[in-house]
């Protein structure tokens, strides 16, 4: 299935390899996605597909629309006044913006991690079990298992196993961010969206999150927005470059950073603008 696009950038939609993806090889797909904040158009004709069990990085200068695009994937833009969306965002083939789409279920399946760690002001244990409890899981044994499993997946278990009842606010910034990842994993999502997850962390905490992301992709699909191009190059399999609301180039990370096809991409990643 090939994607037809009105995008004027030849490489702004899909690499040749991606354009022939089978339906079960990708989880999220944007079709002619346009978004306006009042009169301002923040996204223009976005057409792209995100591969399953891969890390896709979205890069671009401030204000290019990358966070806006990420927020479209779990309908977080809905809460913004005067935000209008056209086009489709398909999750496993079903449009997230259909009138009968179950937003709560979709947000369970598509978790989100933000720039600043945002643990709930409660214990570590309660942070992890908060989501499962909402989804009607109440048995202690099951909740204990979920807590241990998710903290282990987020590589935090060894650091907090003896103090699960302590407040999450007492953890360091890096630990808080990993707790937020563990919390997102607790409701068994398929996709993890990350909006500059290491922007407020020191280099060691950043390293741990990056290592974690590489682990996570074995089971989950990760879409990450980052300002740090070296980070995108280190952890992602695919990279998309956005500029002024348009997808300029999308392809394998090594190709984008070593030999980009669009001059705009080259100028941005070599620091000639932005």
């Amino acid at each position: 299935m090939l994607i037809k696009s009105k995008n004027k950038y030849k490489h702004g939609t899909e690499s040749d390899e991606n354009s022939t993806l089978k339906d079960n090889e990708f989880v999220i797909e944007c079709r002619d996605l346009n978004l306006w904040y009042d009169e301002f158009q923040a996204l223009k004709d976005i057409n792209m597909r995100y591969r399953k069990n891969k890390v896709t990085a979205i890069i671009g200068p401030s204000g290019c629309g990358k966070s806006t695009l990420l927020r479209c994937f779990n309908r977080m833009n809905d809460v913004i006044d005067d935000c209008r969306i056209e086009g489709q965002v398909l999750f496993n083939g079903r449009d997230l913006y259909d009138s009968d789409a179950d937003i709560r279920l979709n947000r369970k399946k598509i978790g989100m991690i933000f720039q600043k760690p945002n643990p709930f002001p409660m214990s570590i244990y309660d942070n992890i079990t908060y989501g499962p409890k909402i989804h009607k899981i109440i048995e202690d044994d099951i909740l204990n298992n979920i807590t241990e499993r998710c903290l282990k997946r987020a590589v935090l278990w060894d650091e907090v196993m003896d103090r699960l009842e302590d407040s999450a606010m007492e953890l360091s910034g890096g630990q808080q961010q990993r707790l937020c990842i563990a919390r997102a994993l607790a409701v068994e999502p398929e996709v993890l969206l990350m909006d500059e997850p290491t922007a407020s962390l020191d280099p060691i905490a950043t390293q741990k999150i990056e290592d974690l992301i590489l682990q996570l992709k074995k089971e989950w699909t990760v879409i990450i927005v980052t300002h740090n191009m070296q980070q995108a190059a280190r952890i992602s399999d695919y990279t998309a470059f956005m500029y002024l609301g348009e997808m300029i180039e999308y392809g394998e990370t090594t190709q984008i950073f070593e030999n980009p096809k669009e001059k705009l991409t080259e100028n941005y990643i070599t620091g000639r603008f932005g």
């Binding site: 950073f257 070593e258 980009p260 991409t265 080259e266 990643i269 070599t270 620091g271």
Partner: protein, 217 residues
């Protein structure tokens, strides 16, 4: 920050260019010292050995520092990667010039050149123009001058075997030519290797400019 990096990258490219012309100069003077029996010129070439080594080390250090400080991408990264390889080839070209000058000074300065090896001059001229064109392509980021390198390298290879056969004939005719001819055959081999290095430089320039690897066999 990027502006500073591009300034330093430009400086580095100029240094590579200077190193390239030093290597070319060493090769040129070594051949001239051979044909003119000029020991002084051969000694000059030998003295430049340290200078070309210094260029190699300094450019390598500066390149690594740039990578460390700015973590460049795309064309900038390819340029630095190309520079790291190109300086090795240039160093070797300069060293071949030094090797020829060494033999001229030690073994050939006392005796007359008995043979008229026109092909040695020919092979040198071919190689010289290949190195010049590869450097020009690097300086101007323009690959049009290196497109015929495959054919030109074949010509160099042919000339080298022609010198081999020529020397063999002289040696069979009269054993007194054996030492001299053995040296000439080595010179031909050195020059042919310099041609190969010019091809390797051209390959790296091609990658630097287009992002695509090619092989000039």
């Amino acid at each position: 920050m990027a502006k500073e990096m591009h300034k330093e990258l430009l400086f580095l490219k100029n240094e590579v260019s200077k190193m390239g012309h030093l290597a070319l100069n060493m090769l040129n003077d070594s051949i001239d010292s051979l044909y003119n029996q000029d020991i002084e010129l051969a000694s000059d070439v030998l003295e430049k050995k340290e200078k070309i080594k210094d260029y190699d080390n300094q450019i390598e250090e500066k390149t690594l520092k740039l990578i460390m400080l700015y973590q460049p991408m795309a064309i900038d990264l390819r340029s630095l990667a190309a520079i790291l390889k190109i300086i090795t080839y240039l160093h070797r070209i300069g060293r071949y010039g030094k090797d020829i000058a060494d033999v001229v000074k030690k073994h050939l300065s006392e005796r007359q050149i008995a043979l008229n090896l026109v092909n040695l001059r020919h092979i040198y001229e071919h190689v010289h123009s290949m190195i010049e064109d590869a450097l020009k392509a690097f300086e101007e980021m323009n690959i049009s001058g290196i497109k015929d390198f495959e054919t030109r390298d074949d010509e160099v290879d042919k000339l080298r075997w022609s010198i081999f056969r020529e020397c063999l004939t002289y040696m069979i005719e009269d054993p007194k030519y054996i030492t001299e001819c053995a040296h000439y055959m080595m010179f031909a081999r050195y020059l042919e290797r310099c041609g190969d290095h010019a091809c390797k430089i051209a390959e790296k320039v091609h990658y630097m400019v287009t992002g695509k690897h090619i092989e000039i066999s």
